[in-house]
Amino acid sequence: MITILGLALLVLPLAGLSSFALRMFIMVGIYIILGLSLNLITGFTGQLSLGHAAFYAIGAYTSAILSTRYGLGFGITAPLSGLAAAFFGLLLGIPTLKLQGAYLAIVTLGFGEIVRITALNWMNLTRGPMGIPGIPSVSLFGYELQSNIGYYYVIYGLAAVTLLVVFRIVNSRIGRALMAIREDELAAQYMGVYTTNYKVLAFTIGAFFAGIAGSFYAHYVSYIDPQSFTFDESIQILSIVILGGMGSIPGTILGASILVTAPEMLRSLQDYRMVIYGLILILMMLIRPQGLLGGVRFGKGGKAKNDASGSKEYNQAIWRAKSS
């Protein structure tokens, strides 16, 4: 299944897609990375973050500044952007991850706004609302990428790496600890899981990949300004995770594909576009609250199986346990 999908993605651009379609695919790729990185934090660890765009922004600005001022290439700026975002993730995570629920939500939201407003006002560093133009295109091993096809392979390469890392983390001792925190933090703590450390770890890794996505975005579009990293952006990423299904890796990929292309598909509706987008969001939640692929397990043999957490009985049991 995965092999087929991978092969399809590999040959797809050779099939002569229009540059618009290729561009859509590239944007989907960026959001797959962003979605996966947030899924690690929100889906697997259960920490609601409403400021993921901040790490995306930090990555994009780090790359933009390093490449326009110091002439560094993508091969250096991308890891540095990831590290810069991870550093801020660590900085934010250590003091705040003892907060819960609405409190954590508002702190992450506030952090996102602070980053955006700083980018808007720190003229010397970010040029404020004028943004940073002329970010050089991606060049790897001496080759400068000229076409969208090149970018396509780079972004899906990065997405594949992200996927692999997230997959390996989730299916390891660390992943089990993260999911234990999601299910019941207190119980996890009593079982000997260092909850704060694991939460900070998830947050930092998530921020790292968001930073990489930001770096790619900056080099790809060659111009960034604070307008690209608003609260709406954080919400878009969160919606991808929730729509696909929290804690589902294939779900995130599906969610990114739908939510990135939906506004484009709806473009012919012009003014009605965002109204319908809002409605879609509400309807999706009402029809399938666990997300499109939430609770669906892709077991051996590619057979989809519902796991217990999707069932009504399980939810009611959880509900009873929490309300008592």
């Binding site: 706004e113 609260f231 809002g278 939810n315």
Partner: protein, 292 residues
Amino acid sequence: MLLQQMINGFTLGSAYALTAIGYTMVFGILELVNFSHGAVYMFGAFICLILITTFKINFLMAFLLSLVITGILGMLVDKICLYPLRMKNAPKVTSLISTIGVSIFLQNLVMLLWGSETKNFPMVFNLGTLNIKGFKLSYFQLVIMGTCIVLMIGLTLIIQRTKLGKAMRATAQNMEAAKLMGIHVDQVISFTFFLGAALAAVAGIMIGMYYQTVDPMMGFMTGLKAFAAAVLGGIGVLPGAVIGGLLIGVLETLAAGYIHAGYRDAIAFAILIGVLLVRPVGLLGKPVQKKV
């Protein structure tokens, strides 16, 4: 200068406080952050404006009518978008996304119906300003603060003295137990949404009149800041929302005046984060004992 800033801050803070109450009441009962609240606030201001300009209704009638309409909108948001999710016992975060959907929907619906440009809110009554030793205090600022105080007292009376208020408190404490005691929990929740939305409409209309403009995006920042105010005071605690609202209003006005106007919105959030690091449950919130 300082006193002037303080007065402007209190005026703004009153509006934040009224909006924050909606967040805190809903959170108190459902443990849900209702992100549609900012859009509801904006909707309240727009409906009032439309009633005055298009339907030529006099201000007082338009004001009351828009409270009712916005209140009903709040109820509908709950009935259509949140109630079915509660019935399914869906995770809390799906309700959150659903309210974000409502917010996007409402904002763009208003743009579609009445245009996205900033609209002039007519000066309904010109009350003039009071000049005391160099600082200006418009009577309208007094009206805003007065309305805020009156509504707070009214709300406290409703919650503390009436049977419905008792039911609200019981539902907030333990929904299951309240149900077993014969309280119509769904009606109580509907009423809570009605009340929160109507208060947001009051805030929206007053801020619209204060700045004499309304626009479809006006609810966005105010909504976020009112949410910040509710959390700052301790979410779920009513007096906390008021204190949080006033504090954020005053501090951000002072910061804009003395530090840097551009960082105005960032400062409100920085203060919030700072307070939460010292007091993780907000100023008046009580730590909850958790059980496995």
